[in-house]
Symmetry: C2
Subunit: 321 residues, 2 copies
């Protein structure tokens, strides 16, 4: 081990949650309904896409043309109603690149009927991926994997777990010159292989590399009643976004409406050993979000609020870095 | 004639245009796409319903529960995408009263598929009225009549002309006591009948009433290329809203995209003998709306800009009051 903490390791790449909307069910004059942009390194993803998302993207200067994958939790209006407008605008802006949309079944029909009645033929392809169960790998690239999480809601609803893939080891600068490490061996060494010298001698990997930073993860869990159905998947997650539509005194309403309270969200974060909890999806009846924070922190101190326009880093908070 | 101008006549009822959105095609970070709330006396109407309209209604403190009639010009997203969200919110707020929606065909399907995928059964009825040609009476009540106006656009598109019905004559206070006018004759006198005295004598209507204020009208014309198809209907209109997507130097693009320029909108207002012209539906490429005003006023001096959050009175501007 290098002894350096993950916090200071310069190898860490950007991994940020940009909150575009935080209100439940109906927007208020101040809060939009659910949408988040996720930035990982040079890629942008969208998580839910409520009414007004395209304007929020503009306000937060998020490059909508660089979004290629959109993950929709479920087909209640407060989680997808901004998608048609975003697609129309991408079309009008001349987008050519395909767009992937992940959601429970039904969204394709919603979008297609709207392009049909508008008389527009999109210049780009929208590829709909139907998510029908939790625990599935729904997206993967060289750096990230995204798994579905089964929520407990009135209609089929899925959260999404973004897992950074294991990060390659860092070859120490001084080792490169000292051993004249050939380029063809570098990829293997970064993955943990030992160095094979021309004379047949072997230099152990630990001597020439640094321990990589721990891969991070972000779980987006909305909308859901309290459930542990997806708990195993989110164990040790670094940042857990969990809906908290109500304060604890409305636990009965939360249950009836298949939503969660502050304490329920915090309890799940605690059970999961999450690094940090972000609350959101506040009922429009509330004005003072400080109460949400206060309640949840009684159970899970490292709690923050989803606030529109605020960017949160996904950091390797949990133990074992 | 009483000699009093319509301006000072206290009988005039509220007739206001509240601009909720003024941008064309795509919203900007500052401007929403098209929507207007029309207030006539104690009734509220909605003209187009772009993405974000329900939030704009909240911001402008317009009582959405009191909207019973929504007029949609056409099925391009920037004119209707806020409707599903508004309907979902009305449902969640417990609306029971029926809602009438007037639009070219296709909107019912757009709405119904969304209620279906969301698993929501609306508690109120939405009655869709298909508008398929101009010059038709599409709505009428005791005070107002609304006619369709045929626009020139890529897909079926209609403007709407709101005509206040002729206003009843005012019975002079002094006449009521002087002639002891019986209640049963009052309605007739307000409509212009003479007073019949118990002794068989006739008092001419003009002696006992004041000339009523002239009924006012508002025409909402968007989206359209320059056309005179609906000119006869809007002759002498008090307030003409006419789209002006482009400045005059983009007349070729306007024509290609079936939109209008400042000068075209102003020319139509002039030909119609309108009292006032309101421009709107500005292309997102423009920042300085002062240029729109400057150009249009060269042709039609009494021009104003549609500006979000601004309320404009529909006044009896035109001659003949």
């Amino acid at each position: 081990m290098s002894g350096k903490s993950a916090y200071s390791n310069p190898v860490y790449r950007t991994f940020e949650v940009h909150v575009l909307g935080s209100s439940a069910a109906t927007p208020t004059s101040l809060r939009h309904t659910t949408a988040q942009a996720l930035r990982f390194h040079n890629k942008w993803f969208l998580l839910d896409c409520a009414e007004g998302t395209q304007m929020q993207l503009r306000r937060m200067k998020i490059p909508m043309m660089r979004i290629h994958h959109i993950f929709i939790s479920h087909l209640h209006g407060d989680h997808y109603l901004g998608l048609p407008g975003l697609l129309f605008s991408l079309h009008l802006l001349g987008r050519k690149a395909a767009l992937h949309v992940y959601s429970p079944p039904g969204l394709r029909e919603v979008i297609e009927v709207q392009f049909r009645v508008s008389g527009l033929v999109p210049q780009f392809e929208t590829i709909f991926h139907e998510v029908v169960k939790g625990g599935e790998l729904v997206y993967e690239d060289a750096d990230l994997a995204v798994e579905s999480l089964e929520m407990e809601h009135r209609i089929p609803c899925f959260g999404y777990l973004f897992r950074e893939k294991p990060i390659e080891r860092n070859i120490r600068k001084e080792s490169i010159s000292r051993y004249s490490i050939p380029v063809r061996q570098m990829a293997g060494i970064k993955r943990g292989k030992d160095l094979l010298m021309p004379d047949g001698k072997v230099v152990p990997n630990e001597e020439i590399t640094r321990c990589p930073p721990r891969a991070r993860s972000y779980a987006f869990c909305s909308d859901t009643a309290y459930t542990e159905k997806f708990l195993a998947q989110v164990m040790g997650v670094d940042l857990l976004y969990h809906e908290a539509t109500f304060l604890q005194d409305k636990a009965d309403i939360a249950k009836e409406k298949t939503h969660s309270t502050t304490i329920e969200a915090a309890s799940l974060a605690k059970k999961a050993g999450a690094g940090q909890l972000m609350l959101g999806h506040y009922s429009a009846r509330y004005k003072d979000m400080g109460l949400f924070l206060k309640e949840a922190r009684q159970v899970f101190p490292n709690t923050i609020l989803a606030e529109e326009g605020v960017v949160t880093q996904v950091s390797a908070f949990a133990s074992g870095t």
